[in-house]
Amino acid sequence: MDFFGNLAMGLDVALSAQNIFYCFLGALLGTLVGVIPGVGVLTAISMLFPLTFTLGPTTALIMLGGIWYGTTYGGSTASILLNIPGTPANAVTCLDGYPMAQQGRGGIALFMTTVASFFGASVGVILLMFFTPIIASYALNFGSAEYFALMLMGLVAASTISEGSAIKGLAMVALGICFGLVGMDTQSATGRFTFGSLGLLDGVSLIALAMGIFGVAEVIMSVRRIDRSAIDPETVKLKAIKPTRDDVRRSWFPLIRGASMGSFFGTLPGTGPSIAAFLSYAVEKRIAKEPERFGKGAIEGIMAPEAANNAADQTAFIPTLSLGVPGSATMALMLGALMIHGIAPGPTLISSQPQLFWGLIMSFWVGNVILLILNIPLIGIWVRMLMIPYHILFPSVLLFICIGAYSTTFNALTVWQVFFFGAVGYGMRIFGFPGAPMLLGFVLGPLMEEHFRRAMVLSRGSFTTFIERPVSGTIMAITLAILIWGVWTTIKQNKRRARMAREA
């Protein structure tokens, strides 16, 4: 069947009354789940999973998909307005989004992130439409050595995420890596730092760490700010959310860069929206002409990560549908929904189930358009949320964080972890240590180790495997270049500052 014939068929499927309803439902639920910090997409999809038994496979996937990409639309809301990330992938949006809200530009930030999310998602869907088989096969070129090289590049590139003292940032990355060590070793059956607890054998929970360091710590910090006059409701009336020309001009390239990075990381199983968002923020900060603006309300700092995480969301379907390989726990749930109906994802899916595949893709368009239209008027509602008195709002946030954390493992230990990291995060705030690098170290550290050790097993102990293999070698070369460039710019900056100090 020719390409446009496929699109037409897909549109037909996506626009059926039942599918539009479930798409809308999924998108709405997803946004809601994203806005509420702590309750994550995995929880929402797990809870609604039994519903898919009764729906047909296409409809089930449309709904689950809507929830999946809807969460990253909503996740930026809490990040911007409350400085508490809605999902771990939105943690970087806090860094520039919240300062924007404090400057009275919260409405603009919310509007622009919705646009960024739509842009990123569109790029992702276009890739899905045209390039699924090609991308699926190139993704197979990425073995353990390549993944390690990628993670290393990410760590080097993102070492500038924090502002302020570089030493503090690096210390936090190291601490994050240490927290990532907890759990059972993948290559030998040794438990590390588990203190005899079975529950810790699977490691520290990402939700617990992210919500603790960012969310609970923020709640504790804001005790001092009971009188929340930080956000003026006037700033979020519909006319006030129109961005300035400057904002729009600055946003184009970050959007494109973010969407590209996001699409790339989404297609690799095992990496996902969080890594994509972090790295695109880091890249933007690196190549900005005025990096000092970041952390103080730079629009690039929210456009790039939001485009990245939505693009990653969409392209995550590529390995899932075409290889049958889920890139993350949530994608595994999607696969489960397919398998219940006896559909095995794999290379033959596109040809044997064209209605499912194309219907799903077209529903992504429909869903993203719905979300775009839905989110703009909702901005006003979310800001009303801020008018809720502190003593009701923040305890509710805490409650949701605990519920969300508990629902990932149904184990009280996870909730204790939230409180532990909340205390750690509070301490970090008091002493001026940045939280984003810790999250980065925690996510990338274990991945790096796993891939490094496996690459070494596969190369039988030869370190040169990382340079010998073409893709890995290229990535290492880029990493070296980034490292050298970083050192050079720092030296240049220090010289400039020294000169300015002398002239002053």
């Binding site: 197979l140 990425f142 993948t186 059956a189 040794t190 699977d202 033959t348 493992t409 149904f410």
Partner: protein
Amino acid sequence: MKTLKGMLAGAAMALGLAGGALAQGQDYPNGTVTLVVPYSPSGNTDIFGRHLATALQERWGQPVVVENKPGGGSMVGTAYVSQQAPDAQTILLTTSAYATAPAVYKDLPFDPATDLKPIGIVGYTAYILVVNADTGITTMEQFIEKAKGSDMFAATAGLGTTTHFGMEKFLSDAGLDLEVVHYKGGGDAMVSILSKEADIYDTSVATAGDQIKAGKLNALAVMDDRRVTALPDVPTTAEVGLPDVQVRQWIGMFVPKDTPDELVEWLNSEVNEVVTSENFAKIVEPIDINIETSSIPEVKERLAREMEKWVRLAEERGISQPQ
């Protein structure tokens, strides 16, 4: 509708008969029954558990709910059930990880051989050995020939998983000295075979089926005592000279050790009847689970054999680390 009525009639009859067995004053189930699945939602075991819960709920007239308690390779949920009251209101629904994980996880807060009693084994998934089709290897003979003395790699879905132990048994029996590489989960392991990073992997028909159909993978043998209907041309391991290499990912149910034996026997017959009903087999077919029934002594003996086999294998191949 006919089968539903038939099922209900059968259930009513069974209940009537079973009522006799319970006449000694046990009133079970007494309230909500919890089926603990020690895995995250949406895995095959979880889906099976949910279908079973629905069927049991219909049969018993009491709510039967599934609770997920993932972690520690299923050991967290298992430990949880071992500490519950011995009234069978909490039942563990787990996989063959019950037998393999203890060989790897040494510091368990319970003893899998004695702290839980089996109700029965109700289903299994057959595993097959697959290689990348590009290698041109289509039979086990060819593979063993090429693999002897080579530096090929064998992939597993993780330390202590059924795929791991299956692979070790295969390598040991076939006299191959391949390096075993662990991945994090079946998805990653599949990618490794597709990308030719590793050379052989053992997995379920459901996971590999589509790739085999598309000609990307070749199945060399079924690690079971009978062929699978989905792949009728693939020989069993016995047919290629490796009769002991049989690994089934089975699904079994357990209760805490002090649960009264009569109750456990009754549960065994109840569950056996439910899973052998025509409707049920049809429901679980898409998730690649074959139904089986068992008696309690059978299961106890089989469990003991398996656990001993895996512990021995773990020690021989140096899988478990000294703690």
